[in-house]
């Protein structure tokens, strides 16, 4: 009970101030028939020492990247994070504080949100950014909803090459809202099939969602896609989804390729893989759409003495003001992850981030070649960043995981489960965390599969 400061004396004194005889009296509004008579059916409390031993044992029953080189991406990329990031996130002033509702007491958090917004807008080529959403998947769904509010259309085109989990979440979000989706197929280069796109475009379409890079790691030709949209009367919005945020440092900013909204996940910026969460959803957009953005936004203002300061702003978009007419139901978001990404980006700087992206490209190209030498060639011929799909011998994809685990590696992602037409497709990724010899070994094991 070392988190509970009240001693018996305290309790007595407080009860007497209240005018109650026992603590249980305070619960008298709970009718006896719904009282928990038997107590809770959970284990007795543990000392910190026992607890830590137990959790460490559970942690040890996992094999994490680091212990094993990781060739798995598929929406979660194994990047290195400098120690300074976690050190700063461990300051209680950051991690134990609440959403900055009282700005005079929260300028540390608010200024860092403003910095995050500025950097994310720059990276994505947009004018404004929010302060985070849950993850890339729900951010993509929110972007779709945002587009449907802006363009008031009922139909949303979705690249079939968007991350399958993102598409599933999108489905969950759109299902009940009377919004239709239609998938746009990819071509042999793994990019969006522009002809199919053109024929899917109809007046009711309010937006097109496309991944950059897409789920296959392929870099889409966004300008051509944007041109296809412009050909339509009431131009649908181009919403681009980015699940590997590091790519923003080496690919043309979506905003300068015609995107109206960018949604995605910025976890790659210094945050742990963490078995899937917490991640860092975000949405950026062109200025015209400010009032339809979901989530918190921080703005610059001044205090009574004219000094610069920051506040949460445009709150009339939000649930606590607008209730059911809010732009989103989001309240608690991913504040500390946002701060971590801000620190990471400040450490990397424009040169560092660009060089890191190039290093990822180089590693991935090396892996491509190492695999090619073993007869494993890319599934698509479109350009890629740090991830690409290959074609394995028939049946090999299902055996890969075990063979690689046996060799102390974390393998790629078999595409057959999500794409019935890509049964032997296998998605692999190489970041700065894998070494040349890891790639060689990986190619060797994979090449040995029959």
């Amino acid at each position: 009970m070392h988190y509970l400061p009240a001693s018996e004396d305290d309790k007595r004194a407080m009860l007497s101030a209240i005018g109650a005889a026992r603590v249980d009296e305070l619960f008298k509004d709970i009718p006896p028939e719904i009282r928990c008579e038997k107590g809770l059916d959970i284990p007795a409390g543990l000392s910190e020492q026992e607890l830590k031993t137990r959790m460490a044992a559970m942690a040890a029953r996992n094999t994490a990247p680091g212990g094993a080189p990781c060739f798995l991406g598929a929406g979660a990329y194994d990047h290195f994070s400098p120690a300074a990031v976690d050190h700063l996130l461990s300051r209680t002033e950051f991690y134990s504080s609440y959403t900055p509702y009282q700005p005079e007491m929260s300028q540390g958090t608010l200024q860092s949100i403003f910095e995050f917004q500025t950097m994310m807008a720059d990276l994505t080529g947009m004018d404004v950014s929010n302060a985070s959403l849950y993850d890339g998947a729900s951010a993509t769904a929110e972007a779709a909803l945002m587009a449907s509010r802006i363009r008031r259309g009922k139909k949303i085109l979705v690249a079939r090459s968007i991350h399958p989990a993102y598409r599933e979440v999108l489905g969950t979000y759109l299902r009940c809202l009377d919004l239709d989706t239609e998938e746009v197929p990819f071509g042999r280069d793994g990019r969006m099939d522009l002809e199919a796109l053109s024929s899917a475009l109809c007046p009711d379409v309010c937006a097109l969602l496309v991944g950059q890079p897409n789920f296959f790691g392929v870099v889409e030709d966004l300008p051509s896609i944007a041109r296809s949209l412009e050909a339509v009367d009431k131009k649908p919005l181009l919403a681009v989804t980015v699940s590997e945020a590091l790519s923003l440092a080496i690919l043309n900013a979506p905003g300068s390729s015609g995107a109206d909204i960018v949604a995605g996940d910025a976890r790659s910026f210094g945050l742990p893989l963490g078995y899937g969460g917490p991640y860092l959803g975000f949405v950026t957009a062109k200025k015209a759409h400010i009032r339809q953005i979901p989530g918190r936004i921080c703005g610059q203002t001044t205090d009574e003495e004219g000094r610069r300061g920051f506040v949460l702003t445009l709150t009339t978009r939000e649930q606590h003001i607008r209730r059911e007419r809010a732009t989103s139901n989001i309240c608690t978001n991913e504040g500390l992850c946002m701060l971590g990404a801000t620190i990471y980006l400040a450490l990397m700087g424009r040169r560092g981030l660009t060089e890191l992206a190039r290093l990822n490209l180089s590693k991935s190209e090396y892996l491509k070649e190492a695999l090619a030498k073993r007869g494993i060639t890319p599934l698509f011929d479109g350009p890629t960043f740090n991830e690409f799909a290959v074609k394995l011998p028939a049946g090999a994809a299902s055996k890969a995981a075990e063979a690689l685990a046996g060799a102390g590696m974390i393998g790629g992602y078999p595409l057959g489960g999500d794409y019935a037409d890509l049964q032997d497709g296998y998605l692999v990724c190489a970041t700065e965390q894998v070494r040349r010899e890891d790639c060689d070994r990986f190619a060797e094991v994979l090449g040995g599969l029959k």
């Binding site: 619960f27 942690a59 963490g274 203002t301 009574e304 450490l347 974390i410």
Partner: protein, 485 residues
């Protein structure tokens, strides 16, 4: 130390030529991005990313941190937010590499410990709230609400019983109507009666077969327990509706009563409130959903199940509403929550609830000498005062801002909406009595100042990093990114 009075923005500190990170040397040939990416290659470096050394960056954020308040400084009495102490061991377990570095899609044979942890947490939450099944995917309370509403919808749809309306009391948190809306429902507000509880007549009158369900916060945002909650469940069920409980206030109830035993159908739990995971200046949190058997088939997939030899992610759930999160929810938040639950355990959690309620009632008793509670009845873990007794010309906001000068974070203000100028105080169980007394003294002092020196209060804060900030101009002329010059 002396206080930092100014800290520039990163972009103003930008110092070309500095480096904050050294990259590993390339052990592979350098690829040519222009050649490989062609027109899609980004030529211009992202100009807003500053060039700074590690020292510069660490100092910048360390200085910024000193402009924040923190739970480790003292009472953080935000009502409805359950700002309890965040145990340090939780931070250690969440940083164990076997958790923090796991890839969400890595083979389940390589993640048995993580799956076991998820499985245990599912069970604990079901046991604490009295439900049968659980999904750990929702990333926060609001996403839990959205998920729960979708479960209700899927349930009705599975019975071909399409309903359009969800009832929500006027005291509800803003996320409730918003979540119901995004789940495709029309929201209708049910007014509260004079005792701050749901008006039973209004409910009975409106509860028809077009109503999919009701969303109730129990205890509600006034801290009041809805005594007739079972009757409410019966009324709703009688018309085929479902009862959703917003579990944000579960901290009042652990081991005392279980929503599942009231007849409720589904509920979310804010791990970042009741189970002490830190608020992080605005997240991340986690908002798992627990439900009864009949809703289980609709839960987001996958869920963790136990097999003969271990644990696995069960994706084969044909009736599932689908995913709400790309991967396994906010896993590292879940690690913290299980750490906390297993630390307090069977006896500790109920004691935490008892003490949370004791602390709140103590504050209520002490502060009632000066302030008037919004409603008369008993309250549990929090108490809401109105601005009725404030001196002429002094607003709730003035009191809040002046408390900052006394070293306290202010309470939640102007919520719930049904109390005029609401001042909503939730101390939680981790506050020692001395700290509550210190707060009472500060409130009294501020109220005294409000009478004797109102200008001082109206122009507060005076002793914070910033004086009162102009929120109106911020919204009118939004400046949302930094521009040079």
């Amino acid at each position: 130390m002396s206080r930092w009075t100014e800290e520039k923005l990163l972009f103003e500190l930008d110092h070309p030529g500095r480096r904050g990170v050294t990259l590993p040397a390339a052990d592979v040939p350098e690829a040519d991005p222009r050649e490989l990416l062609g027109a899609m290659h980004r030529e211009a470096e992202p100009a807003r990313l500053p060039e700074l050394s590690e020292v510069d960056v660490v100092r910048h954020f360390t200085r910024l941190s000193t402009f924040n308040y923190a739970i480790d400084f003292g009472l953080y009495p935000l009502g409805s937010c359950t700002m309890k102490y965040n145990p340090k061991i939780n931070e250690q377990t969440a940083r164990m590499e076997g958790f923090s570095r796991l890839h969400p899609l890595q083979p389940q044979s390589m993640s048995q410990g993580a799956l076991e942890l998820l499985y245990e947490l599912q069970n604990r939450l079901c046991a604490i709230a009295g439900f049968d099944a659980c999904s750990l995917q929702p990333a926060a309370g609001a996403q839990g609400e959205f998920t729960g509403m979708q479960l209700i919808r899927a349930y009705h749809e599975s019975r071909n019983d399409l309903r359009k309306v969800v009832l929500i009391p006027d005291s509800a948190h803003g996320t409730n109507p918003a979540s119901a809306h995004f789940a495709g429902y029309d929201v209708e507000e049910v007014r509260s009666s004079d005792d701050g509880r749901m008006d039973m007549d209004a409910l009975k009158q409106r509860m028809e077969t077009d109503v999919a369900g009701i969303m109730l916060t129990v205890p509600n945002t006034l801290g009041i327990f809805q005594e007739n909650i079972r009757e409410i469940c019966d009324i709703v069920h009688a018309k085929g509706g479902q009862v959703y409980i917003d579990g944000a206030n579960l901290n009042a109830l652990m081991g005392m009563t279980r929503p599942g035993d009231w007849g409720a159908d589904v509920m979310h739990i804010n791990l970042h409130k009741t189970f002490s995971t830190p608020h992080g200046g605005g997240g991340p949190g986690a908002g798992p959903v627990v439900c009864r058997k009949h809703l289980e088939p609709f839960l987001p997939r996958p869920v963790v199940v136990k097999t003969g030899s271990g644990f696995k992610l069960d994706h084969d759930r044909p009736q599932s509403i689908g995913k709400v999160h790309a991967f396994n929810g906010n896993f590292l938040v879940l690690v913290r929550a299980l750490t906390y639950i297993d630390t307090l355990g069977r006896e500790g959690l109920p004691e935490a609830s008892r003490l949370a309620v004791l602390n709140a009632n103590y504050l209520r008793a002490r502060l009632s000498e000066e302030l008037e509670p919004g409603f008369k009845g008993n309250t549990l873990h929090e108490v809401v005062f109105s601005d009725r007794t404030l001196p002429e010309g002094i607003t709730t906001m003035d009191i809040a801002k002046r408390l900052i000068d006394y070293g306290f974070h202010p309470p939640t203000v102007y919520f719930p909406l049904i109390v005029h100028g609401a001042i909503m105080v939730e101390p939680t169980e981790t506050e020692p009595r001395e700290e509550l007394d210190r707060f009472v003294a500060a409130v009294k002092a501020v109220l005294e100042e409000a009478r004797t020196d109102p200008e001082k209060v109206k122009s507060a804060p005076h002793d914070a990093y910033r004086r009162r900030l102009d929120e109106v101009t911020a919204a009118r002329i939004p400046r949302l990114t930094w521009e040079p010059g």
